[in-house]
């Protein structure tokens, strides 16, 4: 049997070999499968040919992360960063790239990195190569604005995460092959069906307890495996608990990788005070118990920076922050947690306390992002009654002609995750 590492590296080699043969190459990457590693490797590979390369990321943070990784792995390659006028240069990329608002300001670096929005303003030159990072999160109208800048491109992204969205009704374009609301990759592949699509087969982030769950629920036809075995990762507490419901939920998560902290069924407003409180207390309690992780990286204490809290809406995030979360713990929406990695995550289920299940809340990508950020354990906080809510709201979206069927179905994915979580259920303590 081939080891996961060998399997993954074979895919990367195949991608690099395909690059000069096709106008575009697509790489699907499940959560934590080494997407950034691939981007950095491909960048080095292309830079080594001596031809200039442009890299397109979606957010300023992603651009900065890429520059840090590139500078680490390929110290000999000169890097440029295009940025907006009001961009504050973070400490971590100082001295690693030439920074400017216009291409001529950068000198002539081998690699230029910028956000898609910024690239749309940088005309006047075509590049032989481009790498588009997080291409599934990029709306196709953004790609339209910049596709004239490059001749060939590598598109890398995670098909299971959140689709790009809009605040207006885009039904008038449904079914068009260039629907501006579809992702860049969807439009690219519809117009160029012959392009090779590779898949990274191994998630290095998700533990053996999570990879099969996430893979089955969100990647039903293109599964992946965990890079580590069942016993390779452990989470334990150095401080004893008090057998409260919070402690039991954390212990369950430490032992099995998952816990569902279930509050009594009730319809609530979005910023459900009890659920918000539970999330905040769980985070505090987690750090009070001084958790330690054992993994292929050795034994490490879980610092607040390695813990994240995720929710669906911004007001929920603000409410959780206001409820008192230990300093240094990340609290953010699914959209902004995309691409990030933590040891332990605590998530407020998007359907908790709701009376209806809208397309927004059923979008499989939202739950997928929230349930796939952790290396060790994930605690889900939810009100009881979500399976019943789902049963009352089957997907009833209008069927549009010519729209390719998208998998997974959000409704089914939600059921699959809940079915798994039901085996890790801890009932909340009755409110005092």
């Amino acid at each position: 049997m081939i080891s996961p590492a060998a399997e993954a590296s074979a895919v990367v080699d195949a991608v690099l070999a395909d690059l000069p043969r096709h106008r575009g190459v697509v790489v699907d990457s499940p959560p934590g499968a080494g997407k950034s590693t691939l981007v950095v490797r491909a960048a080095g590979h292309l830079a080594a040919t001596g031809e200039p390369l442009m890299i397109i990321a979606q957010t300023n943070e992603q651009v900065d992360d890429l520059i840090v990784r590139l500078a680490e792995e390929h110290p000999g390659v000169s890097i440029g960063r295009l940025s907006a006028a009001d961009y504050a240069v973070p400490q971590r990329i100082m001295g690693k790239a030439s920074i400017g608002t216009k291409l001529p300001d950068l000198g002539d670096p081998a690699v230029v990195v910028a956000t898609a929005d910024k690239w749309a303003w940088a005309g006047g030159r075509t590049w032989p190569w481009a790498i588009v990072d997080e291409a599934y999160q990029m709306r196709s109208d953004k790609l339209l604005r910049i596709a004239g800048l490059f001749e060939r491109a590598l598109f890398v992204g995670d098909p299971g995460q959140l689709d790009p969205f809009t605040i207006v009704d885009g039904d008038r374009w449904a079914g068009l092959s260039w629907d501006p609301l579809q992702s860049a990759v969807a439009v690219l592949l519809r117009h160029n069906p012959g392009l090779p699509v590779h898949r990274l087969p191994v998630s290095w982030r998700l533990p053996a307890s999570a990879a099969p769950v996430v893979s089955e629920a969100f990647y039903p036809f293109t599964g992946f495996t965990a890079g580590t075995g069942p016993g390779d990762r452990r989470l334990s507490f150095t401080v004893g608990g008090m057998r409260t419901a919070y402690d039991r939920a954390l212990e369950e998560a430490a032992a099995t990788g998952w816990a569902l902290y279930e509050l009594p069924s009730r319809h609530t407003v979005r910023t459900d005070a009890e659920a918000v409180q539970a999330v905040a207390v769980l985070a505090t309690r987690l750090l009070q118990r001084a958790p330690v992780t054992f993994s292929e990286r050795g034994e490490r204490p879980v610092t607040p920076g390695r813990v994240a809290i995720g929710a669906a809406h911004r007001d929920q995030v603000a409410a959780i922050q206001a409820a008192g979360v230990p300093d240094g713990v990340t609290v953010d929406t699914a959209n902004r947690l995309q691409g990030r990695e933590y040891d332990v995550t605590i998530i407020l289920h998007p359907l908790s306390g709701r009376r209806d299940a809208t397309a927004f809340h059923l979008e499989s990508g939202r739950l997928c992002v929230l349930a796939s950020r952790h290396r060790h354990a994930c605690v889900v906080v939810a009100r009881a009654g979500i399976p019943e809510l789902l049963d009352a709201h089957p997907s009833a979206e209008t069927v549009q002609l010519n729209v390719p069927v998208k998998f997974p179905d959000g409704w089914e994915a939600n059921q699959a995750v809940l079915a798994h979580l039901s085996g890790h259920r801890i009932e909340a303590a009755p409110p005092r």
Binding site: R23, G24, D117, A120, W121, S140, D141, L143, L144, R145, A147, G148, T166, I167, V168, D169, G170, R172, W173, L176, S177, W178, D179, P180, L181, A184, V187, L188, H191, N192, V269, R270, T271, R314, D315, A318, A319, A322
Partner: protein, 489 residues
């Protein structure tokens, strides 16, 4: 639905009368709107059965297709409709004004624009379909139609496309315009019934809104506002009348169909004018006039395009066209949301409840505070506001304020009830703030994370330069001879 809207609905149930959701009118209301009530044949997507149209409540024009399955009669109906609508559109193009622009050539804009008001969302969709079925017709060749028909089709398409722009008032659905301003004690689905919606808002004397709405559910008293007709009417009245016309093709039989549909349209006609009257009781919001200017510009532009003999609107948007329309619609949506909140404290209240906005009293200011050094030194006045609203804003969030439009502030810190802001834009040039630009201690202020300012999006490629990722350049448009022949013609 916002928590506030939910509360308003509960109150409506409790009191039996509709509750206001807005203190001002957020849509423009023309002095001479064109009311248009289309009916279509059941089971057909775009087969007109009848329509009532006109700008005078006392003199509606009734158009009837005595046999809707007859395509010639359908296009005769379209020609008749064009006789009513085209003079209305053309009359409004005569008076223009010159608009000066900073850094660009001044241009001419019509001082008024048409406003077509239909009963509901279904009628808007019908306008679009009718436009689609008529704009590619030709005055000569096979299936020739009256020359006004394709022109009508292009106007209807223009209106229907414009209706997709958030905040546009060229084509209004009465139920949607009313629901924007009043909450009823029924579901949003039931609100799509014009009769029950008006019943809730303006019940007849001696009745509650709830009982008026219940009465409105009887199709014999209040026939549906269309475009679909009541199935009972279809089988018992309409079908025999159409059959009689089919057999005799006589004027008498046609008049029988006309009388039948008139009975269905007249109650709705009166309702439509009541709805317009209700909207007219609300004072207009400042933002509505600004958005109407956009409508007028768009109307002027389309009229010019039509006069120049441009091709009919394409059946589908091209890749570049779709992206640029999406950008315009998103911009319109963002500024519509912001303008409504800034114009109306009741709309703002919904944002205050979710923590995206807050109202409070200024407790301290630092009007002369600056940031940076040397040439980079900038004026950044600080304002501290005490509020009891549940503020849920992250430091660094950009805020606007209804009191000082065009000004922008940034959240610096939130400490319990105290929110500290720094003003970053619109407080005057130089090192001292313009008098009055920085609020003073004791002043009531409101700040919200909404701006109707926009950054122009990056340019799109020309359609003939559509890149390979989006299918390459589209074939050039050449009106094909077989265009009037479609799958359904």
């Amino acid at each position: 639905m916002s928590t506030l809207a939910a509360l308003a609905r509960l109150r409506a149930v409790h009191t039996g009368t509709a509750q206001r959701l807005a203190t001002v009118r957020h849509c423009h209301l023309s002095e001479r709107p064109m009311v248009f009530i289309p009916l279509r044949l059941a089971g057909e997507a775009a087969a007109p059965l009848a329509a009532m149209a006109g700008t005078d409540p006392g003199h509606p024009r009734l158009l009837v297709v005595p046999q809707p399955r007859d395509r010639d009669l359908r296009f005769a109906f379209a020609a008749e409709l064009a006789e009513i609508l085209l003079p209305y559109f053309e009359g409004l193009q005569k008076a223009t004004e010159t608009v000066e622009r900073r850094g660009a050539e001044p241009y001419e804009r019509c001082v008024d624009a048409p406003q077509v008001i239909v009963p509901g969302r279904g009628a808007v969709a019908f306008v679009q379909l009718l436009g689609r079925s008529t704009r590619f017709r030709r005055a000569e060749g096979p299936y020739a139609v009256h020359p006004s028909v394709p022109v009508l089709g292009r106007w209807l398409t223009f209106l229907a496309q414009r209706a997709q722009y958030p905040g546009s008032s060229l084509l209004l659905a009465a139920t949607e315009a009313l629901s924007l301003h009043w909450a009823t004690g029924q579901s949003t689905l039931e609100d799509a019934n014009l009769a029950s919606l008006v019943g809730w808002i303006d019940p007849p004397p001696g009745m509650t809104g709830a009982s008026a709405a219940r009465e409105a559910e009887d199709p014999l008293v209040w026939p549906p506002a269309g475009p679909a007709t009541d199935p009972g009417f279809d089988t018992e009245v309409l079908a025999p009348a159409i059959r009689a016309y089919e057999e005799t093709r006589s004027d008498r039989a046609a008049a029988r169909v006309a009388e039948a549909v008139r009975s269905q349209l007249e109650p709705t006609w009166r309702l439509m004018w009541r709805a317009i009257g209700l909207l007219g009781t609300l004072p207009a919001a400042p933002g509505a006039a600004a958005r109407w200017e956009g409508d007028r510009t768009s109307f002027t532009g389309f009229a010019a395009q039509l006069a120049e003999g441009g091709p009919p609107q394409p059946k589908r948007d091209g890749a570049v066209g779709a992206a640029s329309r999406l950008a315009r619609m998103e911009r319109a949506q963002a500024s519509y949301d912001a303008q409504r909140a800034y114009d109306d404290p009741l709309v703002m209240a919904a944002y205050r409840l979710t923590g995206e906005a807050f109202t409070g009293t200024v407790v301290a200011t630092e009007p002369d505070r600056t940031e940076g050094e040397g040439r980079g030194r900038k004026l950044r006045p600080l304002v501290t506001v005490r509020t009891t609203d549940p503020v849920r804003l992250a430091p660094g969030t950009r805020l606007g304020t209804p009191e000082r439009r065009g000004q922008q502030a940034e959240v610096v810190a939130i400490d319990g009830e105290h929110v500290t802001l720094k003003i970053v834009k619109g407080m005057g040039r130089g090192m001292a703030a313009t008098p009055g630009a920085v609020p003073e201690a004791g002043e009531r202020v409101c700040y919200a994370a909404l701006t109707d300012e926009f950054q122009p999006p990056a340019s799109l490629p020309a359609p003939e330069e559509t890149p390979w990722t989006h299918g390459g350049p589209p074939p050039e448009y050449s009106p094909a001879d077989d265009e009037p022949e479609e799958e359904w013609s």
